[in-house]
């Protein structure tokens, strides 16, 4: 019998759970809808139920439970602070609740940090990398950063929040990367310009109902060659590139992995992003040997990363060493 890790991916729509071996392979999985509107107690019961489903029945030793959850959260205390997509959750001690229910070590990590761990151990950054930046470009912009083989957490686990860095200064107005470049801002820009009289294929894609415009719709229009949408996507990619320039100067990584829904637009985002990197980096040394790539793990990324939290005791251990030991 081999040791087992239990992994949970708590999302706004779905809760997934899996049983892993210590090589980070999934042995069994299950999932259910989150149904957050039914209240926090009901969701917590569903989580416990899924954990029971994937617990080993053969008496294998369980090393611990790892949870990927929406931030902000404190990985030291396991407290979920106030996730925007889990309505009504505020300072929920999820780590402590599960620790008490199952009498096991529990490690909680935010989704971007956990994704960085997963791509490091099993995905795009597998190999000899020690300095890794993972950026997710979606309805928000987040990051997970690994320096010298360790997950960067900071004092309270609030580090690596690239979306909140201040960036734009038009007429003295200051905004953040996320508020200027993420999906909802792309949608808002499109709506504003259409309302001001510009024409765009976006109007037809939402049957004339501008309240239905999302970042995803703007991306779809850009893929069809709509000039307005292309301009908005290009600006988003350029600003993302500027955010990455900041990360390059602060972390000097070997690899940057760009994931999230907006990134699936591929070159429409990557081309302006790379142009910004080459134009605004202080020195070619920051990007000439840099690998810039997409994530490879797909939907399982959070489950793999949450399991990795257990292996690395919350990301606090040197992960390269752990990976070598486990021949991951």
């Amino acid at each position: 019998m081999n040791d087992i890790i239990i992994s949970i991916d708590l999302g706004g729509t779905r809760i997934r759970a899996a049983r892993f071996n210590t090589h980070l392979h999934i042995l069994e999985r299950t999932e259910t809808l989150t149904l957050a509107h039914e209240g926090q107690a009901a969701v917590l019961e569903r989580i416990k139920g899924l954990v029971r489903e994937v617990m080993p029945a053969d008496g294998s030793k369980v090393l611990g439970i790892g949870i990927s959850a929406p931030g902000p959260l404190n990985p030291q205390t396991g407290v979920i602070v106030a996730p925007p997509n889990l309505n009504g959750w505020h300072n929920v001690p999820l780590g402590g609740i599960l620790r008490e229910a199952f009498d096991l070590p529990v490690y909680v990590g935010n989704d971007a940090n956990v994704a960085a761990l997963a791509e490091y151990l099993r995905g795009a950054a597998k190999g000899n990398y020690r300095h890794i930046v993972y950026v997710t470009h979606s309805t928000g912009i987040g990051s997970g950063i690994i320096t010298e083989g360790k997950l960067l957490l900071g004092r309270d686990g609030l580090a690596a929040e690239v979306g909140h860095i201040p960036l734009v200064f038009d007429q003295g107005r200051i905004s953040t990367l996320e508020n200027e470049a993420a999906g909802p801002d792309m949608a808002a820009q499109a709506v504003k310009r259409i309302q001001a009289g510009e024409t765009s294929a976006i109007v037809d894609l939402v049957d004339g109902d501008l309240s239905r415009v999302t970042g995803s719709i703007v991306g779809h229009a850009a893929q069809q060659g709509d000039p307005l949408a292309l301009e908005i996507v290009r600006r988003s990619g350029m600003l993302l590139g500027l955010g990455i320039v900041t990360l390059l100067h602060l972390f000097n990584p070997e690899i940057v992995i760009v994931g999230g829904g907006v990134s699936t637009l591929g070159d429409l985002i990557f081309t302006p992003m790379k142009e910004a990197i080459e134009r605004y980096a202080h020195d070619p040394a920051y990007y000439q040997d840099l690998v810039i790539t997409h994530p490879t793990l797909g939907e399982d990324v959070s489950l793999v990363g949450a399991a990795a939290l257990v292996l690395t005791q919350g990301g606090g251990m040197d992960i390269t060493a752990a990976a070598q030991k486990l021949a991951l």
Copy 2:
């Protein structure tokens, strides 16, 4: 006999050298002028001469030589890339040259990183801190960052260069923190506005010769209450605050130490800087328990930091553990 560390502070004006014990106390010191115009070979000979002067005569064991040098440099290879204030130096393998001359381990660090180490072990951040940001605001803007008790270096030692992060300004113009807020930019702004017709006490301070305006002169005028100078200093402090907001979101530190010539203006810089932090941080959790302070080591900071490089083998070891062992 106790073990000894040799420390060198290579600056554009002076070279300092000292003999330290392993508690990071100076036992003996010496210095000479750099005279960079005499050429690289002459400067290298002067460095070797100073090392010989501070070598122990009693047969004590020397653990190694630590060097603080102007960046950019590669701490892994000990190569000084192209320091602006050491004219004609380009890819000088300073570490290797001294290693060969003295047959000792040699560790090279850039001045901001070394200052962070020094303030951590002997200065403003002495204590139980594990996450430290040191920012220097002078003719340039640089930083040294300690995460989880280790100096942040990145792949090639090019990490922690906060001065080069891009910020977007009016009309899509993109510039860097350093180019908008450091001393030379403060001087350039003052000159431009005076030439455009504004009045300022700065004109009298330079006897009407605007080519003599420096960041330091602008600071002096601000201390005298000159409205133009006060406005420029205030903008510099605000932009520095925005840079620190970026560092808070990426590193979630316990303490931020702000040093360098411009920072000696005290509240003239610190007040707008703190206002920007409180206004633009995403959440009070980033600053409510944050210590923001001045450095305490003064002129010896680089010598202490370079000696600390030897103790921590280039900053790569956990420094808290080293400090505890040495009862620093």
